[in-house]
Amino acid sequence: MRNLISSKENTWCIGCGNFGIFAAVRKCIKTLHEEGTPLADIVMTSGIGCHGKIFDYLDISGIYGLHGRALATAQGVKLANPKLNVITFGGDGDSLGEGLEHTLFAAKRNMDITLILHNNGNYGLTTGQASPLSDFGYKGLSTPFGNVEKPFNAISLLLEAGASFVARGYSAKIDHLAGILHQAIRHKGFSFVEVLQPCVSYNNTYQLYNEHTAFLDALPSDIEHARALAKDHEKQYLGIFHNETRAVYHELIAPAIPAMDVSARKRYLTEYQ
């Protein structure tokens, strides 16, 4: 198998958490491939932002979508060809700001795709403005006197919306992250993985995360427990918060008959009238 790294020059800042995500994704895809998933059946969509650049670096098929819309695009891909494994790379501005609606509806529908959220707590690519996950008080170019909004909690928001698989990883814990991604992609239904991703240029959270992350011991007993852990004030827990099996959208809306070729359509119409 090829090493999944394209020949494109990588322009992430040195030390950016995106490198860890990139490594974990490659590792996970390798595992999937070893388990028998053809590379041809894995596709990605990505939003616009530093996170989206993974599109250029990861050597698999996909769509470099519009800012905020990659998850809508991904849903179209999946519905059109359910055999594909569809992975979306989103930013916190991208997927919880501009594209929040698509994220919550994909969860509600239990679309069988995976959203990997590069949570760097800011809009990296557009020079560090506050994002929906920026802390209260965060100073960026659009909030020079400090962000006045409290951040969403991505995990509990997605739990609330109905995501059937919800997890959190940390870009610096590549193996752990790769494992989570693997389960997320294998999960039948909507899987959401928040990745804590330090942004060395605008929101360097390495120290914070190194000190304040901890692995979950086990799957929380229920959603309430999961939510409480997601909102813990001391620790940012890493691991799987929720994993349930629920019917998936593309199967629920599937017609009783398969798609017809054009001659069959002609026949149908001729008879129909």
Partner: protein
């Protein structure tokens, strides 16, 4: 010369089944070998208010309904007032006995009969079917069967109520003004414009339809959703128009034919995605069915205000296709054509239409011969490049997960400016080359589209009248009374310069449903026509044939 035409107008409150009754009347006319046209005038409310449906029928093809009716049936006093002026000489106006204003109305004890025949809420609108049958001399038996077939609930009550009305009208011994039963058999399927658009797109391979409801486009979604298991089609009522359009682009990437539909407001929300279609070269088919704007505007009426909006959708420069069906037949075939053109040229296409076509209905036969087989070349796998430079600007398509795609294929669609490989670029030379590649498709689209009828000319006469979209239908109805040459560009982009060369610089009349003479301005730019007169209507209502005849005569005499 106009053949005998008979028009029925049924008026009443929303939620009373007016439209359904009119459809049944249309159906009865069709079974008796009439051509029909049906329109609905309704407001944005669910119950109450004032709705009316009109069915015009004749032994020859119908292109519109008439406001002046031979038979008016009013179910409430508001209808009586609204439509008492709409009665043709010698026509009949039935209403409830309580609503009679003067002796031009024929009173019937409708409210009483409903009370007598139904224990609970009754279906008043059946009375219009009964009246129609009685007036036309359709047998009691036939009426009974029709009611039983069309209305499944309260069958016994329906029948006894309808027959009671029928008998009352029969006793009136009315003079027959129209012979319903015609010799020549007619196409008997009854379609709305939206159904034809849906079927056309489906005939051309539609696999997924993504939409968010918006009048007058919603019924495309409703129709396809309902036919899921017959057509094998997927429909998604998305969270918004933005979602719908971006989903459709994903479906294209996966190799499936997809479409979206909305009206102006929803379409405004799809502009970024439309621009994306231009950039990623996605064959996105869009139905844009107009209503009066701007903003929320007037949701249930017709307009052609979105011409320039449709032609200039999306930021940035990229080739696109815009065409507008001038007839119900074309609604079906144009949906096929645009789907195929979109895929052949990998460009977004807009099928621009109006409420008047979307929601009106007529009888016709689908031209199945227009359904093209299509095949996409499957490029081989060695170094597949999504945006490979070609002379035509069209690069071979390959789909992830398709049979021809292997693990070595990396298929990259990119909203950023990109290289042949699909990877992003911001290098000056690369930007230039890729822009030029996309631009070359304009010529390709033009030549591909020539296999279709891009311009239609109806009738003859020294007076030349230009129109597009369903305005052409209104004019064809007018042609029953006055001679002129009706010229209809079906394709607006690419503009069919060659087919229209003969009209360059000519003096013409332009008819359209907008406040500004937009279409005329468009024709001036493209064809340097001289506008003798603009005939404009912008109150949401369709033109009546008589009104057009007068306006055209006036323009000629001016």
């Amino acid at each position: 010369m106009a053949q005998k035409i008979f028009t029925v107008l049924v008026g009443g409150k929303a939620g009373e089944g007016i439209k359904k009754a009119a459809q049944v009347i249309a159906h009865l006319a069709i079974i008796h070998n009439n051509h029909v046209f049906q329109t609905d005038d309704y407001q944005s409310l669910i119950k109450g208010g004032h709705n009316f449906s009109v069915v015009s029928m004749s032994p020859s093809r119908m292109y519109n309904t008439y406001k002046q009716a031979n038979l008016v049936i009013s179910f409430d006093s508001r209808s009586v007032d609204e439509h008492k002026g709409d009665l043709l000489e010698g026509g009949l106006h039935f209403c409830d006995e309580a609503d009679v204003r003067d002796d031009t109305m024929i009173p019937l004890p409708l409210a009483k009969l409903v009370k007598t025949h139904y224990p609970e809420a009754g279906n008043m609108s059946l009375a219009s079917i009964a009246i129609f049958c009685a007036v036309m001399g359709i047998s009691e038996e036939f009426l009974k069967d029709t009611i039983a077939r069309e209305f499944k609930r309260n069958q016994a009550e329906n029948t006894s109520f309808a027959l009671a009305v029928y008998q009352l009208v029969n006793q009136l011994d009315l003079q027959k003004v129209y012979e319903l039963k015609q010799e020549q058999s007619v196409a008997s399927k009854f379609y709305t414009g939206n159904q034809l658009l849906a079927l056309g797109a489906w005939a051309a391979g539609l696999d997924c339809y993504f939409s968010y409801p918006m009048t007058p486009a919603s019924s495309i979604l409703h129709y396809l959703a309902l036919k899921r298991d017959q057509l094998g089609i997927k429909t998604v009522h998305a969270e918004s128009e933005l979602a719908a359009a971006n989903m459709a682009l994903g479906a294209c990437f996966a190799g499936k034919r997809a479409a979206v539909g909305s009206s102006g407001g929803g379409f405004a929300l799809m502009q970024e995605a439309f621009s994306m279609a231009g950039m990623v070269e996605a064959p996105l088919l869009c139905f844009l069915s107009s209503r009066p704007g701007p903003a929320t505007g007037v949701s249930t009426y017709t307009a052609q205000e979105d011409l320039f909006f449709a032609l200039n959708q999306g930021h940035g420069e990229f080739p696109r296709i815009v065409a507008s069906p001038d007839s119900f037949e074309r609604a079906f075939t144009l949906a096929i054509e645009l789907m195929n053109l979109a895929w052949e040229s990998q460009s977004p296409a807009i099928l621009l239409t109006e409420k008047h076509l979307s929601e009106s209905a007529t009888n016709l036969r689908l031209d199945i011969s227009k359904v093209d087989e299509y095949q996409l070349a499957q490029p081989d796998s060695v170094n597949y490049q999504r945006y490979q430079f070609t002379q035509s600007g069209i690069s071979p398509l390959k789909f992830p997960g398709s049979d021809s795609a292997t693990d070595d294929d990396v298929i990259k669609w990119n909203t950023n400016e990109h290289l042949e490989s699909g990877f992003r670029t911001d290098k000056a030379t690369n930007i230039k080359l890729m822009k030029e590649k996309r631009q070359r498709k304009s010529a390709a689209i033009d030549s591909l589209s020539r296999k279709y009828r891009r311009v239609e000319v109806y009738g003859k006469g020294s007076t030349k009248v230009f129109a597009y979209g369903s305005t052409a239908l209104e004019l064809r109805e007018a042609q029953k009374y006055i001679d002129f040459e009706l010229v209809v560009p079906v394709y607006l982009e690419p503009f069919p310069h060659d087919e229209l060369a003969a009209y360059r610089g000519k003096e013409v009349i332009v008819v359209e449903h907008s406040l500004n003479p937009n279409f005329a301005r468009f024709l001036k730019e493209k064809l340097e026509i001289k506008v003798k007169a603009n005939i404009l209507r912008y109150d949401g209502r369709h033109f009546d044939a008589g009104e057009l005849v007068n306006a055209i005569r006036e323009a000629i005499d001016a």
